[in-house]
């Protein structure tokens, strides 16, 4: 049913040499742009989260002429702002045996052996520099009394390597990054374009040479030419409609690049976060995450008896099942996210769930409060407890929290080589928008690390190499080029078609339906039959969408329905690819759990013989017939083994 390329076009460009010296050798060997020449290059950066903001600021510091775009009214609101728990770094400040090697090892294993070793090693290596950079920016990390940095342990790790700023680590790191970005705006190296949505990539002579975007206030379609394009527009978890992502998070930029030739890797690798506030009703717009750090002190349990509807306080200790501690004694409540999520689903599916819907488990702090005192618990989690109380009307100081898994992060994304360049020369992809470092499952506190590593410490080197090597400077293009005009024409046609659609159903209704299909069949557990159903359902829904959607308003004004319509149209295509990728991958790994492939204990069962590769899909002008290219993964340093957290 799927088409596989006769010859894969993928070349990861992994440098030679032992893994410890690949990055430093590579940096010594790649080409440089001289300081005097940097200002002659224009670089477009799309997105202002940790990856995009860090890239724009750093490239500005180097002297490039940077144009930075975001959909929000200001770069400070990019969704990185919502990350709560922390950021990993192999500093070994705690003297507990951490090292670059261990962080590398944990990340490869945590990703269930589906990430590229060389990229992961570089990420672990750069992690320490990130903390230095952020501390120097004045990020108010948690400290010990003596003034040194504090750490905590985080899901899936046996060392304390997570740095944090209360429950607002993402916000503080982003504000640090934003401050560096604003400094460059003041210096004149970076020009900001807020409230712009990228709708197309312009490719000229096979190279990324600009973007076309919509001004979200005036509705004008605008063109921008450049010598390279850096995309850092985040993941696609909002395809599920209900997720922990911000309501405007979307996949449009990466999907439009995919349609221009960038291969999309591992779309089925989606992360369902174990600790979110359960769904309350149909008008709900999003799900709220409760930081994974809560699992450091909170104990997860369900009643041993099925359908036990007693309030938690009336269920005695010996009638509770602390199932994570029981099944995974070595890691207990700190097992990786995919494992914790599936365990919660299993408990609820077998009738042990709690709350009105039966789709929730308890996360209980009673023991922690007894052991540490209420003040210490408030100190660690106070803002999270307040948030939970505000939403549910229940105090976690008195009652256990009710939690359930929700879509949170997507490991898949545009395929990139070691230089973070996609299959379109000149188009670089950073952060969650690419596929590179987390394999089939991301460990907690690793997303912030990857975004900042890509932005502060990888792209400043590899982009320079591309610019010098490609000699794009000899071939400047302007927005008068016919490729821009063709792009503007196509975009205008699509927006006109959308606003002109006068059907019966709103965009939100379609998004909700698509989300339902994906959650039911391409969510925490998948099987071939369900995936085939999902593919049929999505195709039918997509057809109906174009016939029967109602957008309204005009394309020449601020029009939220139009923005959402374009995004949902893309999700309708991407959703099918997620299902197809999940269908073709006849194994379970990390966040991709196929019910047909599990161990007797119900854990993910990989098939390294047949699926130890990155599956990257090529668009073919027919959303249902993409072509698969494979990048074989080799594990020379961390040997393939079944993950065990027992």
């Amino acid at each position: 049913m799927i088409k596989t390329a006769d010859e894969s076009i993928l070349n990861a460009q992994i440098p030679d040499g032992p893994i410890e010296s690949k990055w430093s050798n590579h940096k010594s060997n790649i080409k440089l742009v001289s300081p005097a020449n940097k200002r002659k290059y224009t670089v477009i950066v799309v997105g202002t989260g940790l990856a995009g903001g860090a890239a724009a600021a750093s490239l500005g510091e180097l002297g490039y002429n940077v144009l930075n775009f975001c959909i929000q009214d200001t770069p400070r609101r990019a969704h990185s702002v919502a990350a709560q728990g922390g950021i990993n770094a192999a500093k070994n400040y705690q003297n507990d045996g951490d090292s670059v090697w261990r962080l590398f090892y944990d990340t490869v294993k945590g990703g269930d052996f589906r990430a590229r070793e060389a990229n992961v090693y570089r990420l672990a290596e750069l992690s320490a520099n990130i903390i230095d950079q952020c501390a120097a920016q004045g990020v108010p990390f948690a400290r010990e009394y003596g003034g040194t940095l504090a750490n905590r342990s985080f899901g899936g790790a046996q060392v304390s390597r997570t740095f944090y700023a209360r429950g607002q680590t993402g916000q503080q790191l982003l504000l640090g990054c934003y401050s560096s970005l604003m400094r460059q705006v003041d210096a004149g190296t970076v020009k900001m374009f807020p409230r712009r949505e990228m709708l197309d990539l312009v490719v000229i002579d096979g190279r990324a040479r600009g973007i076309v975007c919509r001004n979200l206030i005036s509705g004008a379609i605008e063109s921008y030419a450049a010598d390279a394009v850096v995309l850092a527009t985040g993941g696609y978890a909002t395809a599920f409609f209900l997720s922990t992502n911000a309501v405007n998070s979307n996949a449009t930029a990466i999907w439009r690049c995919h349609k221009k030739g960038a291969l999309f890797a591992n779309p089925c690798y989606t992360q369902i976060h174990p600790t979110c506030i359960p769904l309350a009703g149909e008008s709900q717009s999003k799900l709220t995450l409760m930081s994974e750090s809560l699992r450091n002190d909170g104990r997860v349990w369900v009643p041993k008896a099925k359908g036990d509807k007693r309030p938690p306080s009336q269920i005695p200790e010996d009638e509770r099942d602390y199932y994570l501690e029981r099944i995974y004694p070595a890691f207990g409540n700190l097992v990786p996210r995919d494992i914790a999520s599936r365990a919660a689903k299993r408990m609820c599916d077998t009738g042990h769930g709690v709350g009105n819907t039966g789709y929730a488990v308890y996360l209980d702090f009673a023991d922690a409060i007894k052991r540490l005192g209420v003040d210490t618990v408030r100190d660690r989690y106070g803002n999270l407890f307040d948030m939970y109380d505000e939403i549910t009307g229940e105090s976690p100081y008195k009652l256990p929290m009710r939690i359930y898994p929700a879509p949170h992060y997507t490991m898949g994304g545009l395929w990139v080589d070691y230089n973070l360049m996609s299959t379109i020369p000149g188009l670089h992809v950073l952060g969650e928008a690419n596929f590179s470092d987390h394999g089939a499952n991301r460990l907690g506190a690793s997303a912030l690390m990857q975004g900042l590593a890509d932005g502060y410490f990888v792209i400043p080197y590899t982009l320079g190499h591309y610019l010098a090597d490609s000699k794009v400077l000899n071939n400047k293009v302007t927005t008068d080029h016919p490729a821009f005009q063709e792009s503007v024409r196509a975009i205008t046609e699509q927006t006109k078609r959308l606003v002109g659609a006068k059907g019966k159903h709103t965009v939100r209704e379609y998004h909700w339906k698509l989300g339902r299909i994906l959650w039911d069949h391409v969510g925490m557990a998948r099987n071939a039959k369900g995936l085939e159903q999902a593919i049929r359902d999505i195709r039918a829904l997509r057809e109906e969408f174009w016939k029967d959607v109602h957008v309204g308003g005009s394309d020449q004004e601020f029009n939220k329905n139009l923005e959402f319509a374009g995004r949902v149209a893309d999700f309708m295509e991407l959703g099918e690819l997620m299902a197809l990728d999940a269908w073709h991958r006849n194994e379970s790994c990390g966040g991709h759990f196929r019910e047909e492939y599990q161990t007797p204990e119900g854990e993910a069962k990989r098939d390294d013989q047949n699926f130890c590769y990155v599956g990257a899909w090529q668009w073919t002008d027919n959303a249902s017939e993409p072509v698969l290219h494979k990048e074989d993964l080799e594990f020379d340093y961390v040997h393939l083994a079944q993950r065990s957290y027992k």
Partner: protein, 257 residues
């Protein structure tokens, strides 16, 4: 629940605006005010009317995008709560809820409830940073920051840039926003090198943007969803006065030739 939403409608920056009242039915107490606006917008879209434009993104009180005057209060009647966190259980069944955009000369209306807060970005660009390029930072533990100092800096750094302080202030002053950023850096060793320049430049930019001055109403603190204290404003003034003195001394000293 059934509620009436009286909302400010304004087609564009230069259009004349007016209040319009809508009935919204089928609201659950655990829904947020913004989800109620979502329901209203679905209703309007289906009726072929223009939906109410409002900014919103994370819907968990951290991005700072949403900012509404709810019943005359910035972010509504709940303390330490953003508009997106405001639940309908705090309003009675049948309640009339008045929703307006943040109003300040420096925050012009874009459409309906959406305002332009880019003045805040320009204030940060004037000095709300430490000048450290990527790659040049020393080891993080070489800069010791006592725990209580880090905690105080974090209290100031918690600002989400929503602009509620401006909207709540009778003078439309941005002093709490500016004071919080100046204070964060004035407390930390990393902020010392540019301490004086920062205070002078950020305050000058705030004035240039057309924000009013502070006259100690303390409405900003009451409206701030992150509970940022007006002591940040007192600190901003100390920093500003100190910076002014230092710069005068420097000016008198002459250049290094």
């Amino acid at each position: 629940m059934k509620v009436k939403i009286k909302v400010w409608r304004q087609a564009s920056a230069n259009a004349k605006g007016a209040f319009k009242t809508y009935d919204v039915d089928g609201i659950l107490p655990e829904m947020s005010l913004l989800e109620t606006l979502d329901v209203l917008n679905e209703q309007l879209t289906k009726a072929g009317e223009d939906p109410v434009a409002f900014d919103s993104d994370c819907r968990e009180g951290i991005c700072g995008a949403c900012g509404l005057m709810v019943d005359g209060m910035a972010h509504g009647p709940r303390r330490k709560c953003t508009s997106c966190e405001l639940r309908m259980r705090h309003f009675g069944d049948g309640a009339m809820i008045t929703v307006e955009p943040f109003r300040a000369r420096a925050f012009p209306v874009v459409k309906d409830l959406v305002v332009d807060r880019s003045a805040f970005d320009r204030i940060i660009a004037a000095g709300g940073y430490t000048s450290v390029n990527a790659g040049s930072a020393p080891d993080a533990n070489s800069i010791l920051v006592p725990k209580d100092v880090a905690e105080k800096a974090m209290d100031s750094a918690a600002c989400i840039g929503c602009g509620a302080c401006v909207a709540a202030c009778p003078n439309a002053s941005a002093s709490l926003f500016v004071g919080a950023k100046i204070t964060q850096f004035s407390l930390l060793p990393q902020g010392q090198a540019e301490r004086d320049r920062r205070a002078l430049r950020m305050v000058a930019q705030m004035d240039k943007e057309g924000f009013g001055n502070c006259s100690n109403h303390a409405e900003c603190e009451a409206a701030c969803p992150k509970g940022i204290s007006i002591s940040n404003i007192a600190n901003m003034r100390r920093e500003y006065m100190h910076a002014g003195r230092v710069y005068e001394e420097h000016a008198g000293g002459g250049g290094a030739g």
